[in-house]
Symmetry: C2
Amino acid sequence: MQISSRFTVALHIFTCVEVFRGEYKITSDFLASSIHTNPVLIRKILAQLKAAGLITVARGTGGIEITRALSEISFYDVYEAIEPLEDGDLFRFHDAPNPDCPVGRNIHALLDGKLAAIQRAMEEEMRKYTLADLDEGIRALLDAEQKGEEGT
Amino acid sequence: MQISSRFTVALHIFTCVEVFRGEYKITSDFLASSIHTNPVLIRKILAQLKAAGLITVARGTGGIEITRALSEISFYDVYEAIEPLEDGDLFRFHDAPNPDCPVGRNIHALLDGKLAAIQRAMEEEMRKYTLADLDEGIRALLDAEQKGEEGT
DNA sequence: TTTGATGTAACTATTGACATTACAACAAAG
DNA sequence: CTTTGTTGTAATGTCAATAGTTACATCAAA
């Protein structure tokens, strides 16, 4: 089971906001065109990011503002805003294991700690990357493109 | 998006095989009863574990054998056998970002490395736990149950 | 008041998870 | 060699989530 594309779409949105700030008016239509999807999906994701307090969206006139310094928003913040995990658990269990079976009634006690550690390892790694890294990365890539063109 | 319960069901199966070996004949019906699901789901998971070479299943007569030492089968081995990840990637992207947009045509170069690192962090943690840990853990839990009963 | 944008609701298509029934294939015991 | 119990697997149904699309009310600024 893969993690839904809405997470990478959200990162794409942030990157566009950083790159095109001032240059273009960043609307949901504009973003939908870059990501190659439809504006409604973008607006739903923007609504989630707004609910998490990561951005503000100007109604009527359009325009997206990031509320914190880029280095203060990690991949995990974005992931948490976007992915609705039931009870915050990454791993699903089967509904109701048999309490009459010694294994069935102990399976949660047996696995919960280990699964939580695995989930934590992933989330900790997510905290290491921030929007500032994205900003830096995309500018390096665009510079490289520029130089490539000059070389021809 | 959560990881499907088939992974924890597989760990449940292994635990049952270890605990009830010799004591009961471990059939898909028996397992389905402990996990509280239906035998066909169990058989499909057994088929995946068999395809990965982790177990053998005796047709006709029934019975499951684990092919390696418990300490030689990690959670990751089970996860890999069970979860069909497209191209091995945990994170999904949107289908076809716009190549005319500077961000759209660079989004993979920008994100791929970081996402792979996050996935790797999770998988490395998964490698730390083995079926031997499960065996040890369940026996400790069952001993504790025993003592709790004696106490009353 | 017009214009252009966001916020949402409603509907659809597609996919995956999981449950369930049914039956063929098979191995061992009698 | 027939019975019995089990695995292997196809077919079908239900349910939830993803994602696309249309439509329109709401809103802010020119």
